[in-house]
């Protein structure tokens, strides 16, 4: 069982004093809630669990420990590991200050609609996991369990292609309707491991990048800018879409950008490899010249 191995690993690290905090998951309100847990004493390690509901990407929390004295251990699934890579590339965290415990991820499950007890095997995979091509951590100091075989992944751009084929007015109506729903709670931004600015442009009210009104225009401004700001850095963990209380299909925007980046500037998957440079962070002399 991964859970036992997790607890043992966390206990050992804390007992030896190698890390000051371990970030993992613990059970939440109901059996289908697993929620981020912060463990700083060996005896608390038994709170840790790994099950089908550990969807939260924990890498984001490393930003809270940017200035910590000691080392921080964090459990990483495939997507979390890619997020850590991105944070390392952005110099947001130092490799020597984090200890990564990799967990091959079988895919996370959706919470049941009614909350009634049922067999977790019968629950569908989360949308974000259905198109995941990297269930195994790509960076770690220690791996718990055996790597899982890569899943058959459907064409992850199928949804984007279908939208691209629509007429301009139809697209505009569709996005307008969706953006009008946005309540601007910023959950998408705050959960996103690519959103690592110390101060977000949208929080700098005095500069008026974004009006505080909730209307279509400001919501458009927010959503398009958010997408542009994570362009080339989105690791497709799908957390933004998962946490959106309004259920907006934010990955349709992120994937469009990823698709275009791949088409225009060569194949690139953020966070897969520390050596690859993000497409908007460098250039080539022979980049496509569509503007002249």
């Amino acid at each position: 069982m991964i859970t036992e191995k997790m607890r043992a690993a966390a206990k050992e690290l804390l007992e030896k004093g190698e890390v000051e905090t371990v970030i993992g998951w613990e059970k939440g309100t109901f059996w289908y809630n697993s929620t981020p847990a912060f463990i700083s004493k060996p005896e608390q390690a038994d709170r840790l669990v790994f099950d089908e509901f550990c969807a939260n990407n924990l890498a984001k929390y490393l930003l809270d420990y940017r200035n910590a004295d000691g080392k921080i251990a964090v459990f990483v699934k495939g997507c979390d590991a890619r997020a850590v890579n991105r944070l390392l590339q952005d110099n947001q965290v130092k490799r020597e200050k984090v200890y990564l415990i990799g967990i091959p991820c079988p895919g996370m499950k959706e919470a049941p609609k009614t909350g009634a007890a049922q067999d977790t095997a019968s629950l569908p995979l989360l949308a974000k996991c259905q198109s995941c091509a990297t269930p195994n951590p790509v960076i770690y100091d220690q791996l718990l369990g055996d790597p899982v075989p890569a899943r058959e992944v459907p064409n992850r751009f199928a949804g984007v292609e279908a939208l691209e084929a629509k007429g301009a007015d139809e697209k505009y109506e569709r996005w307008g309707k969706l953006f009008s729903e946005c309540i601007r709670c910023y959950a998408c931004r705050n959960v996103c491991p690519a959103c690592n600015c110390r101060e977000c442009a949208f929080d700098a009210n005095g500069l008026n990048w974004l009006g505080k009104q909730n209307n279509l225009q400001e919501n458009q401004m927010f959503n398009i800018t958010r997408a542009m700001h994570v362009a080339g850095r989105c690791i497709e963990c799908g957390e933004c879409e998962r946490v959106c209380p309004m259920g907006l299909p934010l990955m349709d925007i992120n994937r469009k950008i990823i698709k275009d980046l791949n088409e225009l500037f060569g194949s690139y998957d953020a966070g897969l490899n520390l050596e690859d440079r993000p497409p908007l962070g460098h250039y080539k002399l022979d980049d496509p010249e569509k503007f002249m």
Binding site: V160, L163, E164, A168, D169, E170, K171, Y172, E173, R174, W175, G176, K177, S180, A201, W209, Q213, N215, L216, Q217, Q220, M221, I224, T225, A227, M228, A231, I253, K256, I257, D260, L261, L264, F265, P279, L280, Y283, L285, D287, P288, E289, K290, F291, M292
Partner: protein
């Protein structure tokens, strides 16, 4: 939410006195011009007495790489029918590499705007050097013609 034109502010009416005859619609283009090349190019066009449509409003920026995607969105929201980002030719950037990043960023953004339902012809980038007064004239004329054909922009407009 709709594309209904009635709900939009009639900006011409704000400036024109009520008695004046309705003016034929002229496109409004916001042009972000790099200080070192395009702005000098526009200057040269003026000095050379080259005629081009008065539809463009130039905003001088230090480099085309300074132009933030948010500038473009705001321009459309506040009434632009088209947005032009113009800077030095690749290789000529005063800061060596700024325009190479511009090239990547705005190609991506143009496609994203198209995905959101905007007409990509409304958002253009061009390389115009300080000696290319005639090119500046030609670009502005062409873009004005293109946008005239498209008609007033009703998308992303701020209705407040």
């Amino acid at each position: 939410m709709s594309l209904n034109t009635e709900a939009l502010p009639k900006s011409q009416e704000v400036t024109a006195s009520p008695e004046a005859a309705p003016q034929p619609w002229e496109p409004r283009i916001v042009g972000f011009a790099c200080n070192w090349c395009t702005y000098a190019g526009a200057d040269l066009a003026g000095l050379s007495r080259l005629q081009y449509p008065p539809s463009i409003r130039l905003i001088r920026v230090p480099c085309s790489g300074r132009v933030n995607p948010q500038f473009v969105i705001r321009a459309f929201q506040r009434g632009a029918d088209g947005v032009l980002v113009a800077g030095c030719h690749p290789g000529d950037c005063h800061y060596s590499t700024g325009n190479y990043f511009t090239r990547r960023r705005f190609l991506l953004m143009q496609r994203l705007l198209e995905y959101m339902g905007m007409d990509p012809r409304r958002f253009q980038a061009r390389w115009i050097s300080g000696s290319e007064g005639p090119k500046f004239q030609q670009v502005v004329t062409q873009m004005t013609e293109d946008i005239k054909a498209l008609g007033p922009n009703r998308k992303m407009r701020d209705v407040e």
